[in-house]
Assembly symmetry: C2
Homo-oligomer: 145 residues x 2
DNA sequence: GCAACATATTTACAGCTTGAATGATTCGAG
DNA sequence: CTCGAATCATTCAAGCTGTAAATATGTTGC
């Protein structure tokens, strides 16, 4: 070891800062593009994750947020006629979220907007794959606090 | 290329989700440890970044948030006698933030708490260096929207 | 010196997010 | 079948965060 004992801790702190900084960048990027469609960032994130019918809990997991928050966000989307809450076919506790035709169309436009000048465009596809692997490993290793 | 045309966009979306997910993990980790010291997550983040005297703007940059937010957070820390706002020696617009003795002691304890079982402990030091390099490259390539 | 513009911080406000409490439903053990 | 624990979604209170505007100071060019 060529480094002092707590240098590892310092490196980890810097790394946490970088992760957080990039997450902020991504959020800001989403916010900008979403605004052009009349959506807020969390609304856009929800729409982005709605690749098919799913429950509130499932959407919350995809958005990495609390279920109570998805209630709030989905309320907004529902008022704009972008998504609908249907009863779940097999579980009466759950709601089955589905995009309306209008919602599906807006989602397509949103995905197109988000694809250009992504905050990750500074990395080559290969570098992105490496990053993907490392992040997945980090997330999987620290499951639930 | 062995992949369909928009597969790259999908990969980037997944990557954004991973970055966000890990950032959430880190925030949660900070929140847990901070709570044992009577601090909220943003308060702890501010304390962590206060490695020396700095201005509000500088702290905001380190915390990757808006200056108005640091006003809010520093207000809380000041009420707990952890930091103080002093006049800046050369720029009368700016405030010079400094830790109190109590704040410095608490910061030391906080750093010790944060160092054990870091959310990044699933990666080896070498992997962390690779991750650091990739993140820095991504952040630098997307400067300001 | 002064006008015009840029910067540092704060305030007011609106929107987002969490965590705890609640009601409805499901599931497994007896 | 029934009890109790667990799960899904919602509500509410409290706190966090960003935007826009306001105030004060600094800087530049004339």
């Amino acid at each position: 070891m060529t480094t002092p004992p707590d240098s590892q801790a310092i490196a980890e702190r810097q790394l946490c800062g970088l992760v957080n900084g990039l997450a902020q960048r991504i959020a800001e990027h989403v916010r900008e593009r979403a605004a052009t469609l009349g959506l807020t960032a969390p609304q856009a994130t929800a729409l982005r994750e709605m690749s098919g019918p799913m429950t509130m809990r499932e959407l919350a997991d995809r958005m990495s947020c609390e279920p109570s928050n998805t209630t709030f966000v989905v309320d907004k989307l529902e008022k704009q006629n972008l998504v609908e809450r249907h009863p779940h076919p097999t579980d009466r506790r759950a709601k089955r979220l589905a995009l309306t035709a209008e919602g599906a169309a807006l989602r397509r436009r949103l995905l197109d907007l988000l694809a250009v000048d992504s905050p990750l465009s500074g990395l080559t596809p290969q570098e992105q794959r490496v990053l993907h692997g490392l992040l997945e490993q980090a997330v999987r290793a620290a499951p639930a606090g």
